[in-house]
Symmetry: C2
Subunit: 434 residues, 2 copies
C-alpha cells in the first residue's frame, strides 16, 4: 500500500477501505507517514469528504491510538454534553450540574478557548484553586460520589487526534465536516459514555456559518455515535449573537452562578435547560423528553443544580463561595462603556467580533501557548431586538491593561448593527438532529 | 503574512496577489515554509485552480529561483518544442533537426522517462557516447554552429520547480493544470527562447485523458507564454495508441532514423512535419504556415534533417553511424511475438499499458532513481484500424532478461482490443490552440 496512491484515490472521490484509513492514521501517528503526505490527504478530504464508513474508521482508529477511560465501576448511565464552540457559551456549567442533580452521571472532558471562541476549562480555571487536571482515578471516584466531574483532555486520550489537529491547525484543514466530526467523536468515545448531547452552533460566532453545514456536521456526529451504540442527539442552535450577556472567563462564572439561581439571561437559561433535559432523557432519568424538561426546570428552581455545582467546585479544590461573593473571583481593574452612536433597534451583534475583541484584551488566545487573563471581558447591556437611545450603553468592556484596548473597543462598537426597523425574531434552537 | 491564511484563501477559491504567491514559492524554496504547508497549498490548488495572474506569478517566481540561460549571443530566433509526454513519442528528434535545417535555432532542454511515458534524454543516451550534460557554454557554442543542441534539465534552471515537483510527486498533486502549466513554462522561459511549439497529448497514453483538460492546459500554457511576449502555439494530439511502431529507447532511435529518411510510420511522419512547420513559422523562417509546411517537407525529402541530426550526434560525442548501422546501438538478446487471440479489426491499443509493459522490462522507470535498459521495448506490427488474422503477430517484445517478461507480455496482449467491426477513423491532430 502506497500513501501517495491513497491520497490520489481520496482526491479523486473514491471511498477508501477500513484497512486503508487505518494504514494512514496509524502510520501517521507512528511518524511513518510524513506530515506533508498527511496534510495533502487532509486537504483532499476537505474537498472530497468522507463516507459514513470512512469517518467511522477514522474515529475508531483515533480512539484506539490511546487509552479508553473505563467508567464501568461508576454506577448509572453516563451522559456527556459537547458544544462545537461559541461566544459567551457557558451552558455546560449550567446544564451539567442540573443533569447530575437529576441523577445522571456526567463525565465531562472539556477544551480550551481558541480563536474567537471560549473554552470551559479556562472558565473553570477562573475559580481560584479549581483543578482541571484530576487523575483518571480521581475523576472516577468523584463521578461515583458527585455524579459530575470536569476535566481537560489528557495526552493519553486519542493522541492521534491531537497530532492530526495540530497539523490541521497550520494547513487550513480545520473546517472539514468529517475531520471535525471524527475529532470530536473520537474524544467522546474514548470515555466510557452511554449517551451524548451535542450543541452544534451556527452563525457569525460559530465555526459553521451556514445551517446546512451545521446540519451535516450534526448528522455525521449523531451517525458515528449511533453506529457505536451510543444514544446521541444534537441541537442546532443560533450563534448569531453571544449567548447571555457575559463574555470572559470570570464574568461567565458570575453569570453561571446567576443562571443557576434562576436570575440569568433568558436565552442562556432556555438553552441550558433544554440541554439538561436532553441529557436527563438520554440518561434515562426520565421516560419522556417532556418529563425530563420538568425535572430540569425543578432542579433549577429548587437550587439543586446550584448546590451541585458548588459541591463539584469544592471537590475539585476550588472555593465554592465564589458563586456568592464575586469579589473572590479575579476582577478587572478598569471598565469602559461602549455607547451607541445613534438610536434605533439592535439588529445584529457580530459574535465573532465580540469574541475576537475579548480575546485581544486577554480573555482568549491566538495560539495554544498564549496565557489567559481570567478577569477581562465584555458585559452586553443590550441584545438583538432591543431598542437603544443615541448615547445609550451597548456594553461594558472590562480590562486589566490598556494594551490594544482601543482596537478592541472599536471592534466591539462595529459589531453592533443598529437600524430604524426592529429585526425579525430568530429562534435560539433551530433544529434537533437524532 | 501567515502561510496558513494563504492556504485558507486558496482553499476557499479566492485569488492570491502576486506578493502572496511570491511569498509562498520563495519561502518554500528557501525552506522557510515547511513541506506540510506547501503540500496543503498544492492540494488546495488542485481543487481550486489558479487565475491567469496567479499562474503567471507562479511561473515567473520559479524562473527567478534559478539562472536564465542567455542566448542573445547566438544569432537567429530561438524556438523550442515541448511534448507533455506520451508513448512512442519521438517527434522531438525528428522535428528539431528539420526545423534547425530550415534555419531556426533550437535550444532543446528535455526530460527523462517517468511512469508509462518515455523521455527524450533517455532516447538520446541510447546512442553510445552521446553527452546530454553539455555545459551552458558548450550548449551556446553548439547552437551557434549547428542551430540545434539537446541537453537535460540542469539544477541551475528553475530549482523551485524541481523542489515543488518532488513534493507533488509524493502528494498526488501532479495532475493539476495550473501546476503542470507553470512547471513546464518556468523551465521553457528559463532559456532565452523567442517562440515555443507545444504538443499537448490527450488519450489513454497521456497524462490528460480528456480533450477538455488538454485544451485547458494548452490554453493556460499559451497564455503564460504570450503574456511573457513569446510566440507560442499548441497542438492537441491523439495519444490513444502509441505514436509510430517503436517503443523503447534504442528502438525509437532506429525509427527516428527511418523517419528522417522518409521511410518511417505515417502518423509519426505527419505529426513531426507539422510540429517542424510550426517551429519554422514561429521562428520566422517562413512567412506563412503553408510555406513552412513546404519547407519542412523539403528538408525531410532532401535529407537535410537527417544530416542535421547526424551532425548534432557527432557534436555531442555520439557516433553518427548508429543511424545507418543499427547494430551499433544497444540490442536486445531475446524477442517474443505477441499473437492475436482472434481475427478482426484492431479498434484500440491502450498506450498507457504498452508504456507500462515496456517500463516493466526496463525501458522506463518507476522512480527517478531506477536505471534504464536502452535495448528493450516493443515494436508494434499492427496499429488501430488494421485487420488481423487469428494468430497474426500484434507486436514483438524485445528483452534482455526474462524478469517480469510474462507480466509484460500479458499486459501487452490485453492492451489490444479486437472487434468484428472496423473502428471510426480518428484524427491525429485534434486542435490547434493559439
Amino acid at each position: 500500500m502506497r500513501t501517495v496512491d491513497l491520497i490520489h484515490r481520496k482526491r479523486d472521490g473514491e471511498e477508501l477501505s477500513a484497512e486503508e484509513i487505518t494504514f494512514l492514521v496509524e502510520g501517521y501517528t507512528r511518524s511513518e507517514i510524513p506530515d506533508y503526505q498527511m496534510s495533502a490527504f487532509l486537504m483532499a478530504t476537505f474537498f472530497a469528504g468522507m463516507s459514513d464508513h470512512e469517518v467511522d474508521t477514522m474515529t475508531h482508529v483515533m480512539v484506539r491510538s490511546g487509552e479508553v477511560v473505563d467508567l464501568s465501576a461508576v454506577p448509572g448511565l453516563k451522559v456527556d454534553k459537547h458544544s462545537t464552540g461559541g461566544v459567551g457559551d457557558k451552558t455546560s456549567l449550567i446544564a451539567a450540574p442540573i443533569a447530575a442533580a437529576a441523577g445522571v452521571v456526567v463525565p465531562m472532558i472539556s477544551g480550551r478557548a481558541l480563536g474567537h471562541t471560549g473554552g470551559t476549562l479556562d472558565k473553570l480555571e477562573a475559580i481560584p484553586g479549581f483543578r482541571t487536571n484530576l487523575t483518571i482515578d480521581e475523576f472516577r471516584s468523584q463521578l461515583a460520589e458527585h455524579k459530575l466531574a470536569l476535566i481537560g483532555q489528557t495526552p493519553q486520550i486519542a493522541p492521534a487526534d491531537g497530532k492530526l489537529y495540530a497539523l490541521r491547525d497550520v494547513t487550513a484543514t480545520v473546517e472539514s465536516i468529517p475531520l471535525i466530526a471524527s475529532s470530536i467523536m473520537s474524544k467522546k468515545l474514548s470515555v466510557g459514555i452511554d449517551a451524548l448531547v451535542l450543541d452544534v452552533k451556527v452563525g457569525s460566532g460559530a465555526f459553521m456559518k451556514r445551517q446546512v453545514d451545521a446540519r451535516r456536521l450534526a448528522q455525521m456526529m449523531v451517525g458515528i455515535g449511533r453506529r457505536a451504540d451510543k444514544r446521541v442527539q444534537a441541537l442546532i442552535t443560533d450563534m448569531d449573537q453571544p449567548l447571555g450577556f457575559a463574555i470572559g472567563n470570570a464574568l461567565e462564572i458570575m453569570e453561571v452562578s446567576q443562571t443557576l439561581q434562576n436570575i440569568g439571561p433568558v436565552d442562556l437559561t432556555t438553552l441550558s435547560l433544554e440541554l439538561a433535559a436532553r441529557m436527563i432523557h438520554l440518561g434515562k432519568a426520565a421516560p419522556s423528553i417532556d418529563e425530563a424538561r420538568e425535572i430540569a426546570q425543578q432542579k433549577l428552581l429548587n437550587g439543586d443544580g446550584y448546590r451541585k455545582f458548588k459541591d463539584v467546585i469544592q471537590a475539585q479544590g476550588g472555593n465554592p463561595q465564589v458563586l456568592d461573593r464575586f469579589e473572590l473571583l479575579p476582577n478587572a481593574s478598569g471598565a469602559r462603556e461602549i455607547l451607541s452612536p445613534r438610536g434605533g433597534y439592535i439588529t445584529a451583534i457580530n459574535a465573532q467580533d465580540i469574541g475576537l475583541a475579548s480575546a485581544i484584551i486577554g480573555a482568549g488566545r491566538d495560539t495554544k501557548e498564549d496565557t489567559i487573563d481570567p478577569a477581562v471581558g465584555v458585559i452586553l447591556e443590550a441584545k438583538v431586538g432591543q431598542k437603544i437611545e443615541a448615547g445609550g450603553v451597548l456594553c461594558r468592556l472590562y480590562y486589566t491593561t490598556e494594551d490594544r484596548l482601543e482596537d478592541a473597543a472599536q471592534m466591539i462598537e462595529d459589531a453592533f448593527r443598529i437600524s430604524g426597523q426592529a429585526p425579525e425574531e430568530r429562534n435560539l434552537i433551530l433544529e434537533v438532529v437524532g
